[in-house]
Amino acid sequence: MQPNAVEIHDLVKRFGDFVAVDHVNLNVSRGEIFGFLGPNGAGKSTTIRMLCGLLKPTSGSATVGGLDISTQAEAVKQHIGYMSQKFSLYDDLSVEENIDFFSGIYSVPPERRKWRKEYVLRMAGIEERRTSLTRLLSGGWKQRLALGCAILHEPPILFLDEPTSGVDPIARRTFWELIYQLSGAGHTIFVSTHYMDEAEYCHRVALMYRGKVIALGTPDELKGSLASHHIFHLEVSDLVGSMRTLEKVEGLSDVAVFGGGLHVTALDEVRALVEIRGALEQAGIKVPLLEKIQPSMEDVFVAMIEEEERKAA
């Protein structure tokens, strides 16, 4: 088997004049959890759909599991599992019936069917609900069931398109534990999300913006790339006033509300510390807390996206 589970060369997808995917190049290794991040409309779903054979690329090529998505689409489908954004289960079928259906569709060998079904039910934690109608399940359960249905045939590669949208945080956490399990068992997982914090869970991450990949690497690498950006966390007595004041301070590239306080991004660490406190205290605002923090993935992405926008302007 190829060392790379997924290889994408110069993939492009146009819808009329609109370029949804703009010359994407990347590789995903076997067993990797690869995160595909970006705001809505960035092109993540479109890319995944092309890789799954749902959309025809305008130009460029890609292989999934060594198979060409344009010429060997059918073979590709045998080797992948796909979870679409809407979870797409049949609401009027029971949990079991959905599993049986997908088992049949993926041609799971009869001798393995029962075992795989039990495995999925256990994994999703819905053994007791196996006869419930899918319509009656809550979001978290549906999500895990959808994942289960996608892996019945033990595909080496999984494509999950925004699997955690609209699901509560605990369910999200459980879901990611499942993904880790699967990765540990040797599956390659290609996951897209717009929750920036989920990037931390991935082995490698690509950030997509307006059809282009603007960053690619491990979470640490990406955070490191912001070495020149220092992020400070402040707690202040007057949020709105602080923002107004800090806007006028030079050398600060971003001021944003974060939780009950502010995150301020600056290029020069030492100067920033002094200037921020100075400006605020001059304005009569108390600053009980001011400390430098490690950038979160969200910080990284916001910064990168703003870079892009600045470049485009």
Binding site: L54, S84, D92, I105, S107
Partner: protein, 377 residues
């Protein structure tokens, strides 16, 4: 084509059908309701025509004439009135369909051997009933007229005049001329059209709208398997319907069944297959359920209802419409149904119809499979 995948799709579709109470109702209860309606209530047969009588003459002869109508089962004389106003108003209000007016001096003209008229006023709005009513009335009058002449001849000492030529009418296939005998078999075709155009035309569009189609397309399932799986499931439903219709029709409504059961079964399957494929074809052509439904109504149900010869005979339609009816598969099937139920004929007479159904089924199935494009865009 993988049998395993096909089985999975078929099973899922059957589950969908059984779980969706409204579809089931539509598929089974509605045809039953229509059967009952057509069998008991809806008929074109004309009987007991509400009539008024206006006797201006008041003679034994006029009364005798009126009694001829009274004695006929086709006319129900509601009232004897005394003015044109009464009859006119009754026709306007649709209280009566027909009024019989015996003019003054009727008996005088009659006995003198002059032309004596009886006037009939008919509400022509319902032209079908009016035509038939006029036909009956004409028959009554003519036979009475002949009798009068014959009686007169006898009274003069001559021989009873014999009518030189009499029509000997024999009605083939449906001697009671009961409309239900030809409508109930045709209803089988209509029932299948309902399933084909309503239910199967929604099925693929629904998967698109729900998003499950996208999921399906990412799996190894082939378009042919999807189409066939859905077909088989709806096919089963159609056969159940057909059996119900036949059993109710033959045993409850006593519609004659003179042909070969296997021939009927074979051709029904053929027709059902084609009609369903068309429904699925429509469903695959649009991603909106609303569109699919409308198209189904317009292209499948309506023509099946109107242009198949089920109630309205095709030969009396304008030529253009007759040409269109050649492309309506229900037309051939209705011919077969009438043939099997009423006439007891088989392949020798109906071979063309069978061929047409087969061709249609084949073409549309291939078309439906092709339409199921594997790509989202």
């Amino acid at each position: 084509m993988s049998l395993r995948r096909l089985k999975a799709v078929t099973k899922k579709e059957l589950l969908h059908i059984v779980r969706d109470y409204r579809s089931l109702w539509l598929a089974i209860a509605l045809p039953l309701v229509m059967l009952l309606l057509f069998g008991y209530a809806l008929t074109l047969d004309v009987d007991r025509i509400p009539t008024y009588v206006y006797d201006q003459d008041h003679t034994p002869e006029s009364r005798d004439l009126i009694n001829q109508f009274r004695g006929s089962r086709y006319f129900q004389i509601l009232e004897a009135v005394n003015s044109y106003r009464a009859t006119d108003r009754a026709i306007d209000k649709s209280t009566i369909l027909l009024s019989i007016v015996v003019p003054k001096y009727y008996s005088r003209h009659l006995l003198a051997g002059e032309e004596a008229d009886v006037q009939l006023l008919v509400d022509g709005s319902d032209s079908n009933t009016a035509s038939i009513a006029l036909g009956y009335a004409d028959a009554v009058v003519q036979s009475y007229a002949a009798q009068l002449r014959s009686d007169a001849q006898v009274r003069r000492g001559g021989q009873a005049l014999q009518v030189p030529v009499e029509p000997r009418i024999r009605v083939w296939y449906n001697s009671d001329l009961k409309s239900k005998n030809f409508i109930v078999p045709g209803l089988i075709a209509v029932t299948m059209m309902i399933i084909a155009s309503m239910l199967s035309s929604l099925t693929i569009a629904r998967e698109w709208e729900n998003g499950t189609m996208e999921q399906l397309l990412s799996t190894p399932v082939r378009p042919g398997e999807l189409v066939l799986g859905k077909l088989i499931a709806y096919f089963a439903l159609g056969i159940v319907d057909m059996l119900i219709s036949i059993i109710v029709g033959v045993f409850i409504f006593q519609v004659p069944f003179r042909g070969d059961v296997w021939f009927l079964f074979f051709t029904s399957c053929l027709f059902l297959f084609g009609a369903l494929s068309w429904g699925i074809f429509l469903s695959a052509s649009t991603r909106s359920q609303l569109m699919a439904f409308q198209l189904g109504m317009l292209s499948s149900f309506l023509p099946g209802y109107l242009l198949s010869g089920f109630i309205y005979s095709i030969t009396n339609m304008p030529k253009v419409i007759q040409l269109i009816s050649y492309v309506v598969p229900a037309r051939y099937f209705v011919n077969i149904l009438n043939g099997v139920f009423l006439k007891g004929v088989g392949t020798r007479v109906l071979w063309l119809e069978v061929v047409m159904l087969a061709v249609y089924a084949g073409l549309v199935f291939v078309g439906a499979s092709r339409k199921m494009r594997l790509k989202v865009a």
